[in-house]
């Protein structure tokens, strides 16, 4: 084999090897039985002429150019149904995630990128400033206390220390349909739960994960985690 051919081979196997290095036992990428169970139950099968089995096969064969450029990776929702059904438990969504991460950041879908950036900068993916988030909660709460008999003592605290329970909030409600936050507050009230939101990193969504941006994702998780610890909460109630 000429030096050039060897060099080429190293090139082609790159993505596969990189992913194998990340997965326990190399992710069984060569263990595929080609049974097609994954593709049969994947709602993204057929889009862009791709399906999970085909994607895996292309990774295994080192067809990196196509693997790393197909927009199909943005159409797989990382739902993990394929892996759940696969007899070899091959982690195809992880391959898709790594392929997403490989796209130049500025070429990844803008909507996801902006939501991620907003979340890192402002604490929620819709990008409203912290003051607005606090204002909306207080405003809606006041409205309920005044207009709904029996709810004069309803609570919706932000940054209250020592409550025990921390809640996140999907950022869609405060921005587009704030009244939709109220039913959950009422439920917590009836259950007698002492809880709090936070003024920073309060959003319940995680687009940085969808963007394939590990660093931003880690930053959000670390910040939120520190906030919950600082507030002295023992439980983070995921509201999604």
């Amino acid at each position: 084999m000429t030096a050039e051919a060897i060099h080429l081979e190293e090139q082609v196997a790159r993505f596969k090897e990189r992913v194998q290095g990340l997965l326990p036992d190399g992710g069984n990428l060569d263990m595929c039985l080609t049974c097609g169970t994954c593709s049969g139950g994947c709602p993204a099968s057929g889009l862009e002429g791709m399906d999970p089995r085909k994607f895996l096969r292309m990774v295994a064969l080192g067809l990196d150019e196509e693997v790393l450029s197909t927009p199909w990776v943005w159409m797989c929702t990382q739902c993990e149904r394929c892996m759940h059904a696969c007899p070899m438990k091959i982690n195809i969504p992880r391959l898709v995630y790594e392929a997403r991460s490989n796209w130049p950041r500025d070429q990844r879908p803008r909507g996801i990128r902006e939501s991620c950036d907003f979340h890192v900068q402002r604490g929620g993916a819709m990008g409203i400033p912290k003051e607005d988030w606090i204002f909306v909660v207080e405003d809606v709460l006041e409205e309920v206390r005044q207009n709904q008999p029996g709810w004069e003592k309803l609570q919706a605290p932000i940054d209250k220390k020592g409550t025990g329970y921390y809640l996140n909030q999907n950022s869609r409600e405060p921005v587009t349909e704030p009244e939709e936050m109220v039913p959950l507050w009422k439920i917590l009230h009836l259950a007698g739960v002492d809880w709090t939101y936070s003024s920073e990193m309060w959003g319940g969504e995680n687009y940085c994960m969808f963007l394939g941006d590990d660093d931003a994702w880690a930053k959000i998780v670390a910040t939120q985690s520190r906030i919950i610890d600082d507030l002295g909460c023992h439980t983070f109630i995921e509201t999604e």
């Binding site: 057929g46 159409m75 739902c79 207009n147 029996g150 039913p183 439920i187 999604e240």
Partner: protein, 182 residues
């Protein structure tokens, strides 16, 4: 958290687990008396909650809550369901990327699954599912509504204000309203 190995002193729990707990403890005295018309409901299993993290037990808790609120006989499950349920197509950032046509094609399986149940309402405990399934209903002409779980819990408790009924159809706009405003 596991992925990044960040040390912390709290534990992560799902609100669904607490709904079930509070109902069992009698803190949320829900019942299905309001559903005199026997309106049918189905539920979407959010991939992130069920298949990807907690598994079938949380799917069972979710069904326990739904049945307590809408009535056992008014709940119709999708096929397949729980850990085997199909993704709706709203996750993974699909709703925020430009591939709308593909997203709707992805969701056709979910749409057909819902139509098969004959339910008038789909309960979606996740926001992405909620948006996506609403769009599917509109695009393919399903005629069903998509609602949050907290809406139905409060409806059942008689504490759901008229302003908090954005996702309910006309059939439930006036059902079990709280006592009149001052």
């Amino acid at each position: 958290m596991q992925k990044f190995n960040i040390p912390h002193n709290w534990e992560l729990r799902s609100i669904i687990e607490f709904y079930a707990k509070w109902i069992r403890e009698g803190k949320l005295k829900v019942n299905s008396d309001w559903n005199v018309e026997n309106i049918k409901f189905t539920v979407q299993d959010p991939c992130k909650l069920v298949r990807q993290s907690l598994g079938d037990w949380i799917a069972e808790e979710l069904r326990f809550v739904v049945k307590a609120v809408v009535g056992e006989e008014n709940f119709v499950d999708m096929v397949p369901n729980k850990s085997n349920n199909y993704c709706c197509g709203g996750g993974g950032g699909f709703l925020q990327n430009p591939y709308v046509e593909q997203r709707l094609a992805f969701g056709k399986i979910k749409f057909d699954q819902i139509m098969e149940t004959g339910a008038r309402y789909v309960i979606a405990p996740c926001h992405n599912c909620h948006s996506q399934i609403m769009e599917l209903a509109e695009h393919y002409g399903g005629g069903f509504k998509v609602t949050h779980l907290w809406t139905l819990i409060c409806l059942s408790l008689g504490i759901l204000d008229e302003n908090e009924r954005l996702y309910l159809g006309d059939d439930l706009k006036e059902c079990n309203l709280p006592a009149k405003k001052r």
